[in-house]
Protein backbone atom coordinates (compact mmCIF):
# COMPACT_ATOMS: atom_id res chain seq x y z
CA UNK A 1 0.00 0.00 0.00
CA UNK A 2 1.80 3.07 -1.16
CA UNK A 3 1.39 6.61 0.02
CA UNK A 4 -1.06 7.71 -2.67
CA UNK A 5 -3.46 4.87 -1.94
CA UNK A 6 -3.28 5.58 1.77
CA UNK A 7 -4.01 9.26 1.17
CA UNK A 8 -6.96 8.45 -1.09
CA UNK A 9 -8.65 6.20 1.46
CA UNK A 10 -7.78 8.58 4.29
CA UNK A 11 -9.55 11.43 2.47
CA UNK A 12 -12.49 9.18 1.69
CA UNK A 13 -12.86 8.16 5.33
CA UNK A 14 -12.61 11.78 6.49
CA UNK A 15 -15.26 12.94 4.00
CA UNK A 16 -17.61 10.07 4.85
CA UNK A 17 -17.18 10.46 8.61
CA UNK A 18 -17.76 14.20 8.62
CA UNK A 19 -20.81 13.91 6.39
CA UNK A 20 -22.29 11.27 8.68
CA UNK A 21 -21.45 13.33 11.75
CA UNK A 22 -23.23 16.30 10.13
CA UNK A 23 -26.47 14.30 10.36
CA UNK A 24 -26.18 13.82 14.11
CA UNK A 25 -24.60 17.12 15.15
CA UNK A 26 -26.89 19.59 16.89
CA UNK A 27 -24.73 22.67 17.05
CA UNK A 28 -24.87 24.76 13.88
CA UNK A 29 -21.35 26.10 14.27
CA UNK A 30 -19.87 22.61 14.61
CA UNK A 31 -21.97 21.64 11.62
CA UNK A 32 -20.32 24.35 9.51
CA UNK A 33 -16.86 23.18 10.62
CA UNK A 34 -17.75 19.57 9.77
CA UNK A 35 -18.91 20.65 6.32
CA UNK A 36 -15.62 22.44 5.75
CA UNK A 37 -13.58 19.38 6.78
CA UNK A 38 -15.68 17.30 4.39
CA UNK A 39 -15.11 19.74 1.54
CA UNK A 40 -11.37 19.94 2.15
CA UNK A 41 -11.15 16.14 2.09
CA UNK A 42 -13.05 16.23 -1.19
CA UNK A 43 -10.46 18.67 -2.53
CA UNK A 44 -7.78 16.12 -1.68
CA UNK A 45 -9.73 13.48 -3.56
CA UNK A 46 -9.97 15.79 -6.57
CA UNK A 47 -6.19 16.14 -6.61
CA UNK A 48 -5.83 12.37 -6.63
CA UNK A 49 -8.38 12.20 -9.48
CA UNK A 50 -6.22 14.43 -11.71
CA UNK A 51 -8.40 17.52 -11.25
CA UNK A 52 -5.98 19.92 -9.60
CA UNK A 53 -7.71 23.10 -10.74
CA UNK A 54 -11.04 21.93 -9.34
CA UNK A 55 -9.32 21.13 -6.05
CA UNK A 56 -7.79 24.60 -5.74
CA UNK A 57 -11.09 26.20 -6.70
CA UNK A 58 -12.85 24.08 -4.10
CA UNK A 59 -10.46 25.17 -1.36
CA UNK A 60 -10.58 28.86 -2.30
CA UNK A 61 -14.31 29.08 -2.83
CA UNK A 62 -15.51 26.96 0.07
CA UNK A 63 -12.90 27.50 2.77
CA UNK A 64 -12.43 31.14 1.81
CA UNK A 65 -15.90 32.19 0.77
CA UNK A 66 -18.75 30.00 1.86
CA UNK A 67 -17.37 29.26 5.34
CA UNK A 68 -17.15 32.98 6.10
CA UNK A 69 -20.63 33.64 4.73
CA UNK A 70 -22.13 30.72 6.66
CA UNK A 71 -20.50 31.77 9.92
CA UNK A 72 -21.76 35.32 9.41
CA UNK A 73 -25.19 33.85 8.82
CA UNK A 74 -24.98 31.80 12.02
CA UNK A 75 -23.91 34.82 14.03
CA UNK A 76 -26.60 37.06 12.55
CA UNK A 77 -29.43 34.60 13.16
CA UNK A 78 -28.78 33.79 16.80
CA UNK A 79 -29.98 35.82 19.66
CA UNK A 80 -26.98 36.96 21.65
CA UNK A 81 -27.36 34.93 24.80
CA UNK A 82 -24.04 33.18 25.34
CA UNK A 83 -25.37 29.69 24.87
CA UNK A 84 -24.74 27.81 21.65
CA UNK A 85 -27.44 27.46 19.04
CA UNK A 86 -28.90 23.98 19.29
CA UNK A 87 -30.93 22.57 16.44
CA UNK A 88 -33.77 20.16 16.94
CA UNK A 89 -34.66 17.38 14.56
CA UNK A 90 -38.01 16.78 12.92
CA UNK A 91 -39.35 14.25 10.46
CA UNK A 92 -36.80 11.73 11.67
CA UNK A 93 -38.59 8.73 10.22
CA UNK A 94 -39.30 10.20 6.80
CA UNK A 95 -35.79 11.61 6.52
CA UNK A 96 -34.17 8.32 7.43
CA UNK A 97 -36.53 6.46 5.10
CA UNK A 98 -35.79 8.72 2.12
CA UNK A 99 -32.04 8.86 2.70
CA UNK A 100 -31.43 5.22 3.50
CA UNK A 101 -33.65 3.88 0.72
CA UNK A 102 -31.94 6.15 -1.80
CA UNK A 103 -28.55 5.05 -0.48
CA UNK A 104 -29.58 1.42 -0.81
CA UNK A 105 -30.66 1.97 -4.40
CA UNK A 106 -27.41 3.73 -5.25
CA UNK A 107 -25.25 1.03 -3.70
CA UNK A 108 -27.25 -1.74 -5.34
CA UNK A 109 -26.96 -0.31 -8.82
CA UNK A 110 -23.35 0.86 -8.48
CA UNK A 111 -22.23 -2.56 -7.29
CA UNK A 112 -24.16 -4.22 -10.12
CA UNK A 113 -22.70 -2.02 -12.83
CA UNK A 114 -19.51 -3.50 -14.33
CA UNK A 115 -17.54 -0.32 -14.87
CA UNK A 116 -14.32 -0.67 -16.74
CA UNK A 117 -12.17 -1.20 -13.67
CA UNK A 118 -8.88 -0.60 -15.37
CA UNK A 119 -9.19 2.24 -17.86
CA UNK A 120 -6.39 4.32 -19.25
CA UNK A 121 -3.89 4.34 -16.44
CA UNK A 122 -3.43 8.05 -15.94
CA UNK A 123 -3.69 11.37 -17.67
CA UNK A 124 0.03 11.84 -17.97
CA UNK A 125 1.13 13.94 -20.86
CA UNK A 126 -1.64 16.51 -20.83
CA UNK A 127 -1.35 19.64 -18.82
CA UNK A 128 -4.71 19.87 -17.11
CA UNK A 129 -4.40 23.50 -16.09
CA UNK A 130 -3.26 24.54 -19.55
CA UNK A 131 -6.14 22.64 -21.13
CA UNK A 132 -8.66 24.25 -18.79
CA UNK A 133 -7.36 27.72 -19.54
CA UNK A 134 -7.57 27.20 -23.28
CA UNK A 135 -10.97 25.54 -22.94
CA UNK A 136 -12.40 28.47 -20.96
CA UNK A 137 -11.55 30.82 -23.80
CA UNK A 138 -12.59 28.60 -26.71
CA UNK A 139 -15.09 25.81 -26.20
CA UNK A 140 -16.56 27.08 -22.94
CA UNK A 141 -16.56 30.81 -23.65
CA UNK A 142 -20.36 31.12 -23.58
CA UNK A 143 -20.85 29.28 -20.24
CA UNK A 144 -17.98 31.30 -18.84
CA UNK A 145 -19.67 34.59 -19.71
CA UNK A 146 -23.04 33.34 -18.50
CA UNK A 147 -21.42 32.34 -15.20
CA UNK A 148 -19.96 35.84 -14.91
CA UNK A 149 -23.39 37.39 -15.42
CA UNK A 150 -24.88 34.94 -12.91
CA UNK A 151 -22.28 35.89 -10.32
CA UNK A 152 -22.98 39.59 -10.87
CA UNK A 153 -26.73 39.08 -10.56
CA UNK A 154 -26.30 36.97 -7.42
CA UNK A 155 -24.02 39.60 -5.88
CA UNK A 156 -26.46 42.44 -6.51
CA UNK A 157 -29.45 40.33 -5.49
CA UNK A 158 -27.90 39.16 -2.24
CA UNK A 159 -26.85 42.70 -1.33
CA UNK A 160 -30.31 44.11 -2.05
CA UNK A 161 -32.17 41.31 -0.26
CA UNK A 162 -30.02 41.50 2.85
CA UNK A 163 -29.86 45.29 3.06
CA UNK A 164 -33.52 46.23 3.08
CA UNK A 165 -34.56 46.90 6.65
CA UNK A 166 -38.26 46.37 6.85
CA UNK A 167 -40.03 46.78 10.11
CA UNK A 168 -40.22 43.76 12.31
CA UNK A 169 -43.34 41.79 12.87
CA UNK A 170 -44.92 42.24 16.28
Amino acid sequence: MNMTTFLFYFFEVVAAASSIALIFIRNVFYGALLLISCLLALAGIYVLAFAEFIAVTQIMVYAGGILVVIIFGIMLTTKISGKPLVVEHTYLFSGALAGLSLLGLFIFYISKEPFDTNPISSSTGINSLNTIGIGLMTDFALPFEVAAILLLVALIGAAIIASSTKTKKM
Partner: protein, 101 residues
Protein backbone atom coordinates in the same frame (compact mmCIF):
# COMPACT_ATOMS: atom_id res chain seq x y z
CA UNK B 1 -6.02 5.39 -11.03
CA UNK B 2 -8.29 4.35 -8.21
CA UNK B 3 -11.33 2.14 -8.83
CA UNK B 4 -14.29 4.25 -9.85
CA UNK B 5 -16.62 2.37 -7.51
CA UNK B 6 -15.02 3.97 -4.49
CA UNK B 7 -15.66 7.46 -5.85
CA UNK B 8 -19.25 6.53 -6.60
CA UNK B 9 -19.91 5.00 -3.18
CA UNK B 10 -18.57 8.13 -1.50
CA UNK B 11 -20.71 10.29 -3.78
CA UNK B 12 -23.83 8.29 -2.96
CA UNK B 13 -23.10 8.52 0.77
CA UNK B 14 -22.56 12.28 0.62
CA UNK B 15 -25.75 12.79 -1.38
CA UNK B 16 -27.87 10.75 1.04
CA UNK B 17 -26.32 12.43 4.08
CA UNK B 18 -27.15 15.81 2.52
CA UNK B 19 -30.71 14.68 1.83
CA UNK B 20 -31.20 13.52 5.42
CA UNK B 21 -29.76 16.81 6.72
CA UNK B 22 -32.10 18.81 4.49
CA UNK B 23 -35.15 16.87 5.65
CA UNK B 24 -34.51 16.50 9.37
CA UNK B 25 -32.84 19.69 10.58
CA UNK B 26 -34.97 22.43 12.07
CA UNK B 27 -32.68 25.28 11.07
CA UNK B 28 -32.43 27.03 7.74
CA UNK B 29 -28.64 27.28 7.81
CA UNK B 30 -28.33 23.55 8.40
CA UNK B 31 -30.61 23.02 5.40
CA UNK B 32 -28.25 25.15 3.30
CA UNK B 33 -25.30 23.05 4.52
CA UNK B 34 -27.13 19.93 3.38
CA UNK B 35 -27.69 21.43 -0.07
CA UNK B 36 -23.98 22.22 -0.35
CA UNK B 37 -23.21 18.60 0.53
CA UNK B 38 -25.51 17.32 -2.21
CA UNK B 39 -23.97 19.62 -4.82
CA UNK B 40 -20.50 18.39 -3.86
CA UNK B 41 -21.59 14.79 -4.23
CA UNK B 42 -22.56 15.51 -7.83
CA UNK B 43 -19.21 17.27 -8.36
CA UNK B 44 -17.35 14.22 -7.11
CA UNK B 45 -19.11 12.03 -9.65
CA UNK B 46 -18.34 14.45 -12.48
CA UNK B 47 -14.65 14.55 -11.61
CA UNK B 48 -14.51 10.78 -11.17
CA UNK B 49 -16.04 10.03 -14.55
CA UNK B 50 -13.76 12.58 -16.22
CA UNK B 51 -10.91 10.17 -15.51
CA UNK B 52 -12.23 7.87 -18.21
CA UNK B 53 -11.44 10.47 -20.86
CA UNK B 54 -7.91 11.63 -20.16
CA UNK B 55 -7.59 14.06 -23.05
CA UNK B 56 -10.78 16.01 -22.35
CA UNK B 57 -11.89 18.33 -19.59
CA UNK B 58 -15.65 18.37 -20.05
CA UNK B 59 -16.40 16.86 -16.65
CA UNK B 60 -14.04 19.19 -14.87
CA UNK B 61 -15.58 22.23 -16.55
CA UNK B 62 -19.03 21.04 -15.56
CA UNK B 63 -17.83 20.67 -11.97
CA UNK B 64 -16.41 24.19 -12.11
CA UNK B 65 -19.74 25.65 -13.17
CA UNK B 66 -21.54 23.63 -10.49
CA UNK B 67 -19.22 25.26 -7.93
CA UNK B 68 -20.09 28.70 -9.31
CA UNK B 69 -23.81 28.03 -9.08
CA UNK B 70 -23.34 26.70 -5.54
CA UNK B 71 -21.67 29.95 -4.54
CA UNK B 72 -24.54 32.01 -5.94
CA UNK B 73 -27.06 29.78 -4.20
CA UNK B 74 -25.28 30.07 -0.86
CA UNK B 75 -25.05 33.87 -1.08
CA UNK B 76 -28.67 34.46 -2.05
CA UNK B 77 -29.92 31.74 0.31
CA UNK B 78 -28.14 33.19 3.31
CA UNK B 79 -29.39 36.67 2.43
CA UNK B 80 -32.94 35.32 2.39
CA UNK B 81 -32.35 33.49 5.68
CA UNK B 82 -31.11 36.68 7.33
CA UNK B 83 -34.05 38.67 6.00
CA UNK B 84 -36.55 36.04 7.15
CA UNK B 85 -34.89 36.03 10.56
CA UNK B 86 -35.20 39.81 10.78
CA UNK B 87 -38.86 39.67 9.88
CA UNK B 88 -40.10 36.62 11.78
CA UNK B 89 -37.43 36.43 14.51
CA UNK B 90 -36.95 32.73 13.84
CA UNK B 91 -34.74 30.52 11.72
CA UNK B 92 -36.92 27.43 11.91
CA UNK B 93 -38.47 26.72 8.50
CA UNK B 94 -41.69 25.30 9.93
CA UNK B 95 -42.48 28.42 11.91
CA UNK B 96 -42.62 30.62 8.82
CA UNK B 97 -46.15 29.77 7.87
CA UNK B 98 -47.63 33.00 6.53
CA UNK B 99 -46.73 35.04 3.51
CA UNK B 100 -47.64 38.51 4.69
CA UNK B 101 -48.82 40.30 7.76
Amino acid sequence: MFPIHHFLYLGALLFCAGLIVVITKKNMIMVLLGIELMLNASNLNLVAFNQFHPGTINGQMFALFVIIVAVCEAAVGLAIVIQVYRYYQTSVPGEVNELSD
